[in-house]
Symmetry: C2
């Protein structure tokens, strides 16, 4: 009768159970590095995005006028919001500020594999350090997260680039070049034909010859970075190359260098990035899109009216991450788990309720009948929620002061004295009463 | 420069830490009863609310036309969404269906104490049981949740009522009475003057005399419920009173009867409730609004085009729940916690990184310097995040193959062999190296 809106998703318990495991592992990894959880609004002044995000995001905004005449937008990304929050309490917060959160975002895009209009991201950011070790900690926590999810170096790679190398190279060409526009062209280069890519570079102010030369320059290996310094001959390139090398050296110390490949063709779409940027890819190429990305955005806080505050972060999204985990065969099993089902036969609710309560107090997941159903119907239900043990509380058993425990895997049953069940046992199995 | 939108909240890490503890306790309680987590969209077809919610909610909708011309609304409550989800998979889902989720909702209301335009709710529902034990399980999980949060019978009470008793009484009066409108008047009665309340009842079709009589009838004790049956003389009232008594008897079996008081003046604002309804109140009255509420809504699924499916649920919200917990002095402490800070003096990053990594792998929260700061600045930072132990990795210590452990509470320090730290210790303290 009513339809879910296109591009939005419902998650039923079995799938949600797997998603929760993944979210928990992601959050537990970032908490281990001392990132602290924050909570953020789903809506901001639309102007925040019009001023601060790339035009692509603005075209995809869910924006509208609220009942108070405000021009508001559903948050399409978290970075402008955290920037606003940092600026609001910049004096009180001890630096570096290390924050994370997991929540939905909204963009009006055409849904496709790994892309939805409502998607979830865990945003992880460090504010207040310009040091290469901050960039490297972001790479490290990202790699650790994937390792803790069951992936290894065969499964994923981080393509690492540097915005200032791209900007510094563009600056070294003669002519009036729109740097951001050219960088957006680089960001698209992997998805389009070379000719189209060069056309976009020409639109940004390069000649065709310069476009080809620029394209060639980006195709360097790590040991050829000095060629870029020679080409441009500017301090900016020199510093950018040094910074990139220092980040990779710190990544080595942090044990994640093996996941990082130099890839100057990686640019990231958003305008606010300034230094090192990276994208995580499926090493097998089966997941063809970037799984997630991140990078340094040192100017954003100041542009929000704050004191100059360097920043670096990354943000894995649920849809592409699940594609990678599924491809690698490490997506959690989509099934429910239940420790006990307390089955009632006849008018045994007071005893069944007491047993269920005590088992719950010991930390177990316990269901009992709330629908006045038959033995068979309760047994089927217990099976459908994968109950490990069924505690049968029957009128006849109770006459003998007993309950029956049934192990649902083996089918074995034993009797247990009702007064001793669960007793001292936190998680009693049939073995303890045999 | 940019302002947060009125009625929306930012949560910084210290406050978020306390909120997370409360959310976790709430969710762990409901998981213990076998409720399963679901994930739901932030947006629905606006028509869903226009058709299914009370007019109050429709007036408060954040609704707009999306870029595809859909008339959409941010979800102001979860019930219509879960009803849509139940209908979509009614055949496959084993009953009873027991679902929960925690997430934000949005209503354009005037913000005041305990009320925001963006608020969080944990919705907990059972579908597929009309039995009194399902209503009682909802009362039980609600009470357990509050007990697990540190509250007791001195702190809160559930005011329990029954929509069919209210409807049955209204039906027994002569004249054309708009039942839903009269019930909405009952819902408002505690917040307005008696004269105004009676005016609202008259607007709904009662005479002033009937309004006074109705008002008197609602003021019954539990042992006077038979008077209502006598007054109306209908099966409907008879069955409603029996149902209410059975729910309270089941609540007794579930160990939560002591929290339940009969209060027919409690009605709940939403039109879709059908049977038992309840509201949780602060026993001291210091928090003057209902903390949360719930009840039975047996007709909703069918009205969504599903098979007739009885349902009952409740939904604690973050803002009022935190008022109650704060009033009772059991709101968690708002402070960060950190197990280790690994402090670097000089060029010791490779060793510091190895130690941090191993401590994290053992499950600890570990920070290390990513800002190239002085000993003093790192020590201040470690203090600001409440680090329990600081591991000082200094160049001179390393020449002796040692690191220094400092207990931040006592200030005591010991040396530990770098090759054995952390070694086999999952959570080493200075005692282990003295």
């Amino acid at each position: 009768m009513y339809e879910r809106i296109k591009g939005f998703r419902d998650f039923y318990p079995t799938e949600m159970q797997a998603r929760r495991q993944v979210f928990d592992e992601v959050e537990s990894t970032v908490r281990g590095y001392g990132f602290r959880e924050i909570g953020t609004p789903a809506m901001e002044d639309a102007q925040l995005y019009i001023d601060k995000s790339g035009e692509e995001i603005v075209d995809e905004l869910y924006s509208f006028e609220d009942k108070g005449g405000r021009h508001v937008a559903l948050t399409p990304e978290l970075t402008p919001t955290v920037a606003r929050m940092v600026v609001a309490k910049q004096q009180e917060l001890s630096k570096p500020i290390k924050w994370f959160s997991t929540r939905p975002f909204w963009r009006y895009e055409e849904p496709q594999q790994g892309r939805f209009r409502e998607f979830y991201q865990t945003n992880v950011d460090i504010f207040g350090s310009a040091e290469p070790s901050a960039d490297a900690e972001i790479l490290a926590v990202a790699a650790d997260m994937l390792r803790n999810l069951g992936l290894d170096a065969e499964d994923f790679e981080f393509r690492v680039s540097h915005r200032d190398i791209l900007g510094g190279l563009l600056e070294a060409f003669e002519g009036e070049i729109a740097t951001q526009q050219a960088i957006r062209a680089v960001d698209k280069s992997a998805k389009i034909e070379t000719a189209e890519y060069h056309d976009l570079l020409v639109d940004a102010g390069l000649s065709y010859e310069q476009a080809r030369e620029f394209d060639d320059l980006l195709d360097v290996d790590e040991d050829e970075l000095d060629e870029l310094i020679e080409f441009a001959g500017t301090d900016r390139i020199d510093e950018a190359v040094t910074n990139l090398r220092n980040v990779l050296a710190a990544a080595e110390d942090f044990g994640v260098r093996e996941y990082c490949d130099l890839s100057l063709e990686t640019a990231r779409g958003l305008d606010y990035y300034t230094g090192v940027v990276f994208e995580c890819f499926d090493s097998t190429g089966e997941v063809s899109r970037a799984v997630f990305g991140g990078g340094r955005y040192d100017d954003l806080i100041e542009s929000f009216g704050g004191q100059p505050t360097p920043a670096v972060g990354f943000a894995p999204g649920d849809a592409t991450l699940s594609l990678l985990l599924q491809r690698a065969g490490v997506w959690p099993e989509e099934e429910l788990s239940t420790d006990y089902y307390v089955l009632q036969v006849g008018d045994t609710r007071p005893v069944a309720a007491r047993i269920a309560r005590e088992l719950r107090e010991a930390g177990n997941v316990v269901e009992t009948d709330v629908a006045d159903r038959s033995f068979g119907a309760q047994m089927n239900y217990a099976d459908s929620v994968n109950a490990e043990t069924v505690v049968i509380v029957g009128e006849r058993d109770l006459e003998n002061d007993e309950v029956t425990l049934k192990d649902m895997e083996s089918g074995d049953q034993v009797q247990a004295p009702v007064s001793e069940f669960p007793g001292e046992h936190d998680r009693p199995t049939i073995e303890e009463f045999e």
